[in-house]
Amino acid sequence: MKLLLVEDHAELASNIISYLAKAGYVCEWCNNYQNAINKLSGFEYDIIMLDLMLPDGDGLDILKFVKQQSADTGVLILSAKNALDDKIKGLDLGADDYLPKPFHLSELNARLKAIYRRRHLGGAHDIIFNEISLNTDTMEVKVNDEYLDLTRKEYEMLLYMIVNKSRLLTKQSIAEHLWGDYMDSVDSFDFVYQHIKNLRKKIVQAGGRDYIQTMYGSGYKFNPNI
């Protein structure tokens, strides 16, 4: 997966680039509007991560440019401008997703993968991990070809963990992924714990291996090497 990051903030960009490099992506970076247009004129990218506030132009104009150039390119808007207007405008112009700052890098990873699946793998696609397979279209999960009865949140949690496998996911990041805006309201850590507990039980009961590890009491890791 080849990515372009348009972000004027060097520190923020370096965080994202190092994280994505570890995940094995090729990620290029440009820090202003002009560079972004230049790069986009010359090269093809799978997904563009786009900050809307740039020193020399509006990120939304880049979005329009991308949509004219190559309709296949996915666009993920990253913005601290958490205004509903921007979100709607961006999505109207053809952006695939909108991620308000600040975000968890694992959340970014999950969103990128989701866009990639939708755009390049024809949407309806099974994510298969050993004996577990997820259908992202129907949201059905099979373990050893046997359907697993998961709640919506359990499904989302499993997908999030498989996408971010081998990574320590904090309870905070999981809670934010599952509940988004409502997250600060709830005593979410207990809820995460309960969901994880149920999910593990269901997978193990269906004959799957217990990939989910509790790490240091602060988070969980989907460990493929168990």
Partner: protein, 417 residues
């Protein structure tokens, strides 16, 4: 009381004193002149009398109305003219009247004569009466004139002032325009207008920059927080971390995220305060409520909280769409968060009000401060203490009333549309 009437009253009061003193002075001057004239008149008559004595060569006493001449012979002594007051029978009025009297001994030829002349005095009472009457009439005239003048002044002279006053009254920070300078031919008002323009311009720019500052501050805060959060995540990816190190990183991350949420909540509060959500449309509150309750069902379920609802259909309320969602979300969140395991939440929506009740520990702090910023009853880690302040602000800008009632362990927040 209007300024112009105060000035008028004061003016009338002062002129009353002036009139009183003026009356006394006028009275005295008139009296002096009258006395002087009376004496001059008597002296003139004395000359006539002497001429008469010369002509008639008077030898016996002569007495007529207001004149008395007594020959004193050849041995006597001339005296100075002496004036005195006396009471004499008035011939026509036939009663005693006060008179002026002139006494003198004069030598005419060889003879000495004692001449006494009388003249009717102008009484002091009459003068005083006249002066009083005149002054009272003048004073009444002055009163009428001054009242007319004050009316004219308040209508015409004070017009620019009232105009400026009206503008100041209608001045609002949110309208984002200052009061324009308007030239006035009255120097004071001209100065005032200039000052008002400068002042409102300054207030406007100060307010604007303050507004921008609060908005920008919470916005700009998000980037460094995002960076810090990212670094912590990267740090967590590194190998061979000990349990303590991971715990420290997670705790630091928690704080960074809390700060970020706080920034967002504060910026939301500022935006509501700045009335940036002006679009007041009619929204279906029942639909919104049902949707949000559905979203919260799972969260409530995890805590085994029972949600009862009594939602009336077709409740239309005038409120901004975004604000309505934030308000209802915050209220339901609160009801779930401050609840017991296996407690209950009751949501009642009618055409007049929305009430959300829930079980939960009794408040330890003053219920009156419930809606204040950063007011937290239990220092719950997740809560940032701005939720209810936001709800209150939303109610304020949407002109709703909000009340809080509690009874032992049940709490009820009601919003009256």
């Amino acid at each position: 009381m209007k300024l112009i009437f105060k000035i008028t009253l004061l003016y009338l009061l002062i002129s009353l004193v002036v009139f009183l003193i003026g009356g006394l002075i006028t009275h005295q001057i008139i009296m002096r002149e009258v006395v002087f004239e009376e004496q001059r008149f008597l002296k003139e008559r004395l000359d006539f009398a002497i001429r008469m004595i010369e002509r008639r060569k008077l030898h016996k006493p002569f007495e007529r109305d207001k004149i008395k001449i007594i020959p004193l012979g050849t041995r006597a002594k001339e005296t100075e003219i002496a004036f005195s007051d006396t009471v004499v029978m008035h011939s026509t009025l036939q009663r005693m009247e006060p008179h002026n009297k002139l006494d003198v001994v004069k030598k005419v030829g060889d003879q000495y004569y004692k001449v006494t002349l009388y003249d009717l005095i102008v009484e002091e009472d009459d003068v005083a009466e006249g002066v009083n009457e005149a002054l009272i009439k003048v004073y009444l005239l002055l009163l009428v004139v001054v009242l007319i003048l004050s009316w004219v002044a308040s209508v015409f002279l004070l017009k620019p002032f009232n105009f400026t006053l009206e503008h100041i009254k209608n001045f609002s920070l949110r309208k984002n325009d200052h009061i324009k300078y308007k030239k006035s031919s009255t120097r004071e008002f001209d100065k005032l207008n200039k000052f008002v323009e400068e002042m409102t311009e300054k207030i406007q720019t100060d307010y604007q920059s303050l507004k921008e500052f609060t908005e920008n501050a919470s916005h700009e805060m998000q980037t460094p927080l995002s960076i810090a959060n990212g670094k912590l995540e990267l740090l967590m990816e590194s190998d061979n971390l000990t349990d303590e190190q991971v715990a420290l990183i997670v705790s630091a991350q928690g704080s960074v995220q809390r700060l970020s949420r706080m920034g967002k909540a504060l910026s939301l509060l500022t935006k509501i305060e700045n009335k940036e959500f002006e679009s007041t449309e009619e929204i279906d509150l029942n639909k919104l409520l049902s949707k949000l309750l559905f979203d919260f069902k799972e969260l409530a379920g995890l805590k085994s909280i029972k949600i009862e609802t009594e939602i009336q259909e077709n409740v239309k309320v005038k409120i901004d769409n975004t604000l309505a969602a934030i308000m209802v979300t915050n209220l339901i969140q609160n009801a779930i968060r401050h609840n017991y395991e296996e407690g209950w939440v009751k949501v009642v929506l009618s055409a007049k009000s929305l009430s959300i009740s829930n079980t939960g520990a009794a408040l330890k702090s003053d219920p009156g401060l419930l809606f204040e910023r950063f007011r937290k009853d239990n220092q719950s880690k997740e809560s940032i203490g701005l939720g209810l302040s936001i709800v209150k602000k939303i109610c304020e800008v949407s002109s709703f009333d909000i009340t809080y009632q509690h009874q032992d362990e049940s709490h009820k927040i009601e919003i009256i549309f």
